[in-house]
């Protein structure tokens, strides 16, 4: 569909990322959230800082794999990975790791604008014919959801909160670079407060 369109005016989706993420996080108050570096970290922070958010600022490709580790360690909590198409593409193999274990409390949400926003809006593979929902289906996920209408946010939140299936939702968002909302960059701090929220003390 979009493969022949030019670099500059291609729009992958129409959903406002900031609004969508804010609504999703508000509907999932119990969720332990891991964010992929770049815009997803800014979106989740802009929705309101909370101790059970772990914001990645680097380690590109780590988000889904970290979510897998958390979900297996905390089977009674909903775990939500919120990342971008570029970050998910770098960790594609982690979808196989997730699919081989399928924790029932893990949801991966990809904010897909078809571009690498952080580095100047170069086209990514998802706007060049690659479908992450197809990859997740082939990796044995219980469900996938292609979201082109922001009204689906409540259905998605229900799936997150139900903790009875492992899924991936691809959110087709506008390729718009919002003002950066910068979460804390001190990794030790965000690690310790995340654990403290779950009742674990630092060393």
């Amino acid at each position: 569909m979009g493969c022949q369109m030019s670099q500059n005016n291609y729009q992958h989706g129409t959903i406002n990322r900031r609004q969508f993420v804010k609504e999703l996080v508000d509907l999932c108050p119990e969720a332990l959230i891991v964010t992929g570096l770049g815009s997803p970290s800014y979106d989740v922070f802009a929705a309101g800082d909370r101790p059970q958010n772990f914001y990645l600022w680097g380690a590109m490709g780590a988000a889904a794999a970290m979510g897998l580790g958390i979900a297996i360690a905390q089977p009674n909590k909903p775990v939500l990975v919120i990342t971008g198409d570029g970050e998910m593409l770098m960790g594609l193999g982690s979808l196989a790791a997730v699919g081989a274990k399928k924790p029932k409390n893990l949801t991966i949400v990809v904010l897909d604008n078809g571009h690498y926003a952080e580095t100047g809006m170069q086209r990514s593979h998802t706007s060049l014919g690659v479908e992450l929902t197809g990859v997740a289906s082939a990796c044995n996920f219980d469900w996938t959801l292609s979201v082109r209408d922001s009204a689906l946010v409540s259905e998605l939140a229900e799936k997150v909160n139900a903790k009875n299936s492992c899924g991936l939702a691809n959110i087709f968002i506008e390729a718009v670079d919002y003002p950066k909302a910068l979460p804390p960059r001190d990794g030790t701090y965000i690690k310790n407060r995340f654990r403290q929220h779950l009742g674990f003390e630092p060393f």
């Binding site: 772990f54 794999a65 979900a71």
Partner: protein, 179 residues
């Protein structure tokens, strides 16, 4: 038990698993290697430990950090060739000061038939060290339990990041049926 498994049975492998059990490890994350096969097999048969196979080693680094965020101890098993895959992902450990314990079976250092293993095998220790991970090494079967246990405690009691290298000489020569 087939012939390959029989030749790979070693007492020190059972001791490694016992150290993990006593240490409360609940996730065993791995890219497989013949040298880890006994430990992996035991993890699959265990009621408490969840074995998590990953397709590439850097994913394993992220999984074990996630496990610690969730309040559990996880260990990572790989072969020396996988250490190079992890280099940028180790920044997660350094930035957040995650406790980290990794067990590495060495290739490319002792009676190696396949020289494609040698470049990464020769650089394994430096790759860890340049990213701030301390390296211990076990060269004899007798030393394995002590070295593994010391590294494990440094990680999960002391909060350190530690890799233990298991010498290729421990595993023995890989048999190649060259005609």
């Amino acid at each position: 038990m087939d012939v390959i498994e029989q030749t790979l049975q070693h007492h020190w492998k059972d001791e490694i698993f016992e150290i993990f059990k006593r240490g409360g490890v609940e996730q065993l994350v791995y890219v497989p290697d013949a040298g880890h096969s006994q430990v992996i097999k035991k993890a699959w048969a265990d009621d408490v430990m969840t074995p998590i196979p990953v397709t590439t080693e850097e994913d394993g680094v992220a999984v074990v950090c996630g496990s610690w965020l969730g309040g559990k101890r996880a260990v990572l098993l790989m072969q020396s060739s996988g250490v190079g895959n992890c280099v940028n992902m180790f920044s997660l450990i350094k930035n957040c000061q995650f406790p980290f314990f990794c067990l590495v079976t060495m290739r490319g250092e002792w009676a190696e038939f396949n020289q494609w293993q040698t470049p990464m095998g020769s650089a394994t220790q430096q790759a860890f060290e340049m990213m701030g991970i301390n390296v211990l090494r076990a060269d004899s079967p007798q030393s394995v339990p002590d070295v593994v246990s010391a590294g494990f405690d440094a990680a999960f009691v002391g909060g350190d990041a530690v890799a233990v290298l298991l010498s290729q000489s421990l595993i023995g020569r890989k048999k190649w049926d060259v005609k």
